[in-house]
Point group: D2
Chain length 369, copies 4
């Protein structure tokens, strides 16, 4: 099957390994008529670029994207858009000893068992660099959404025990700290926590929140392709994500119907909900309230602390991962989460266009007139 393909109407296929020639993506289904430049994409990629703070690996990678097709005179043509980032700064020797060792928390073991032959250098296909293709495509999806008036806000909700309460959210501060937290104050606490862990050669988990504003109503398909179902798949497909929550999420298990139901009322002549426990989704379709999503991100598995493991042959071995790794994945994953949400929304927005026959008739009557 095709594990590197996502989406239907807006379909992407990503490729590339950490230490191969490069990484990239092809987008099949981007409509014609969008103004698009490499700068639009680069700006998104830079948000996941390493080496920007002491909380991200000091690896210097320019990660410059090249548009290879699908754009003519600065406008998309409706044909596949191929994007590529050449790999640089590959120090494979750091990884040579990993050819025969299975790193705990990594995919070395499962890749080996599934495919027998794997590119072990830097994690190969399971490296964080795999997300470059997602983010490059996500930049295009985000630009399409922006032009439709849909706005996605993504930020670090927590790092280890340091969680920003909703009451303290100050969205202007998100880009003001290297951790992308909506609070400079909590960001400082989190930085202190991370400094401590780094001294212990350890790493931290965290969580990311995503808020989508101004969604049209009715996006998402009933039953299996529900909006929340498609978002859950997209978000859980991010390597380190272990939990996905919508609206009140896990908390609904301890609540009651009268508390959890969002009452309908009207505002400015429109039907709205008094509350948003549902997180903007009812019956798998957007209900007009903000989409509220949250994911839990596991700690960076690559730590320099000594760990017990085995070789390919099952011989016991000790492992201490040197090289350069993030003490926490969360900050660089923020833009990956935003990209996966954007890719999912655009795909479902396009799917939705054939839901009602009156709209289809109108579409083609204009077309033919």
């Amino acid at each position: 099957m095709s594990g590197s393909t996502l989406g239907n109407s807006f379909r992407i296929m990503t490729w590339g390994e950490s230490h191969g020639a490069g990484v990239g993506v092809v987008i099949d289904g981007c409509p014609a008529g969008l103004a698009l430049s490499e700068a639009d994409i680069q700006q998104f990629l830079n948000r996941r670029k390493p080496g920007q703070s002491r909380f991200a690996t000091p690896r210097k990678e320019s990660d410059c994207v090249e548009i290879l097709s699908g754009v003519f005179e600065g406008i998309t043509t409706g044909t596949p858009i191929a994007l590529m980032v050449r790999n640089e700064n590959q120090i494979s020797k750091h990884y040579d000893d990993l050819a025969s060792l299975y790193r705990p928390g990594h995919a070395d073991f499962t890749f080996d068992r599934k495919f027998l032959h794997r590119d072990y250098r830097g994690g190969g296909r399971s490296s964080g660099r795999e997300t470059i293709g997602r983010v490059a495509a996500g930049a295009i999806a985000s630009k399409l959404l922006a032009e439709l008036g849909i706005d996605i806000l993504t930020f670090t909700k927590s790092i280890g025990p340091v969680e920003v309460p909703a009451s303290a959210y100050c969205f202007d501060e998100i880009t003001g700290n290297p951790l992308y937290m909506p609070s400079a104050e909590y960001a400082r606490k989190a930085e202190a926590y991370l400094d401590e862990l780094r001294m212990q050669q350890n790493s931290s988990g965290g969580s990311i929140e995503c808020i989508v504003r101004n969604m049209p109503i009715g996006i998402g398909e009933p039953v299996f392709d529900k909006l929340d179902a498609c978002l859950a798949k997209a978000l859980m497909s991010i390597g380190a994500v272990k939990a996905v929550e919508v609206g009140d999420g896990a908390a609904v298990s301890t609540t009651t119907g009268i508390e959890n139901n969002d009452a309908f009322t009207t505002a400015d002549g429109k039907i709205v909900k008094n509350t948003n426990h549902s997180g903007g989704i009812l019956g798998g379709m957007s209900d007009g309230s903000d989409l509220l999503l949250k994911v839990a991100v596991k700690p960076t598995p690559s730590i320099s602390q000594v760990q017990q493991t085995v070789t390919k042959d099952g011989m016991p071995a000790e492992l201490s991962i040197h090289g350069r790794h993030d003490p926490v994945i969360v900050p660089r994953a923020v833009v990956v989460v935003e990209s996966m949400v954007a890719l999912t929304l655009i795909d479902l927005l396009f799917e939705n266009m054939s839901s009602r026959f009156d709209k289809i008739k109108q579409f083609y009557s204009e077309e033919t007139s």
Copy 2:
């Protein structure tokens, strides 16, 4: 697009509304050679059937399944298997007043906005009866898994504040109580809690846990079709599910790398993990440990307590839902969760067969010899 289709190699398409002629499913991709009877499917359907305890709606529905195609002389033929359950006991008048009202927590509003024209009777396509198709197909997927030696255990982890700690799990007791809890003692506590809520005309949320044992290693595709990603979509597509967790789930956000990494070791000459924080999945592929999944289920939105809402035209209205509804969705959802997991696993097991060329060559060499 096709919101009622799930899977690729083992593909199902469900159909049917609460008060239409019936509900059903077609399975396209079930291999030939499986012994299959209506009893195999009925047994699964009975686990979601209402009227079995005071914690489920007293509606009496026989929900008898009919195999319409794909089985000849008790054996599957490899052609599509069509399954149908006729609707009975439909008291539409209960719902006539709901034609113009939007029930809080239900899909009435979003269905109306997406499609303009909806079958409002009993929730139509968004009724719990929609899951009959899932469970009927899930019964077949489960039988295939069982013959492959893969075993799925699903149960109620919590109802409201009453949560069974893993230390108290007694799996033999699951079928011994109407709530499918792995502890008779906690089940009694939960029943008391539900009785109280019912007197308040209220309902409760809860959570369901699923454990899959004896998974082959390497199932799931890297990147977008990861095992956990596909499971997350399948589980989040269940109407009332608001959170999906794998392994330690949301808890990973507050843990550290050294705590969260599962060390590799050997046992009986096989490479295994010392712990299972990962929930049996590394890099999106099964790692040989048990799969550990958990979902949060929201409280039944249909409560007889008076709620504020609006009419289709936005006029304020008061709503008190009578008719017959479960005080908690969880017990009947247990088999739905198990079905969605089974459907996802079978699909990925089939996909996985073309991952390695040595296995493909072996397959066809036998074929042609």
Copy 3:
């Protein structure tokens, strides 16, 4: 994989065997808001119904269709539409001797080798009755097309050596003869030819032509999902079809560029082609001229003349197929061809809606305003 699923935005899944409980189809992706009754579908099914002339099997089958879901108060709801036709008049004993024999020109042998276990009664899944699901879904696709102003005309082009030249086409006469030929005169000649063959216990091949008028321009996707490519797959998937031609078809191999190119000009202020060698498709997209399609249909393989064959075990055997079979497949296949074309066009018309971003923006601006 899923051999019984067709389409993407307008997806159908068919099911059923010749002598099972019935045959049917589920349509996932039909938009909401189409007026639809069982009569709309029955009328289409009747065009393929046997027993209507001496050139079709005298089997009497009522083939009454039942709408099981997706339609409420006579209007489609946007949810899956399940359609079923119960099987009747099944005289399985006619086929008992075929359990162990491979009929020449039939799928008995290949089904046996692929699946090992097959429903041999009346050809099981490879029976002509499999097309009932296609035609039932095709009736809905055709109604959607008609409301979009797109008109499909399908007829018998030739039976054996009797071919109606385009110069003799009189479309009013198509329904006036049992062979659906656009010429009463040629129909009489073809009937005489068929009478002769029947006396010889033999059967005849033929060809079917399909003309689609008033197609919007630009339908079909460049590269792999070209309009002609999708039509070719849909048409070649009809059991007896062995060739598919578009426009001048096979004749282009002996022509030259200057002859084959259709010059552009203008008429009524619109850009049109002077000729239509292309058959209404350029670069895989509709060009505004009529779509011109032609398929070749092989002779009915079931003949009562004695044939040489083998048993499952490879033992030589003589076969003389009795029971009731059409001396020619073509007339009953006309509506199947029309259905496959309609299903393909609707799917591509829906896909096309997300080709241009200006149209998408317009769609959602209306949506949200």
Copy 4:
């Protein structure tokens, strides 16, 4: 939708325009363990490379392929294989005047109407260079088939009126002439015919035949994904193809049942057919005989003879296409046909692996033991 994606288990996505940065393909679903080098692919690409004879455009293009991912130490890893060919020798000025003119027989008009904004340089996405991605992927599919013992033979059947009769086939001579005809003698006749047409500034159509030997039995799925249906789509998706025939093809329309049925018999203890009118396919599944396929290719639409056309604004215009074009497409299309067949067969071979449960059980019992 995604017009540049083909296949399911072995999925490819192609990209690139004639005068953009390059053209390429990503293959998602190639199994791990295949030895693969750039030379394997280059050798295939060279068969479609221009400038090799006076019957192909003298454009000199090196068309050097680069493997960007999915191969490690010369062996495929099971992850996506990205292949790229940089564009060179782009003389865009040749095409500047075509920005506003619609070339007869080309996709300029339909691209413009579908997408509004198009890359007109050299036909952009509809250029023959689009097939480079197909052929690069086809080279991999062909290598997989070869290792499974399946052999594809493709050649020029006819050019204009010069058709090689089957009786004259000498397959050793195919590569001995620039037209890839299975007869040096007929190739000379065809060359003479082409020289004449070139002097008339005209071009010729032709036909291509493809024979697949040693197919396993039962490949292809019943109903919609029949082997012949999938092949028809793949072949009709080649820009210039206007007809696809299987086995006796269009000729079946004038034959009778007793003539067209292939009698079964046994040879070397295997069940075989006495004849092969079916072209190796019964009921949409391979029947063990050679696959016999034929396509009709239209004449090169780019001719320097003066043609009538219109501008984008509908103004009448005269067009004489200079620049460098093939007098016939057929010879360079031979490897494209072979590639499309190979891609389709591999995809269906992989799909077929989950058809029988006994084989699946065997697969996983080996896996887990």
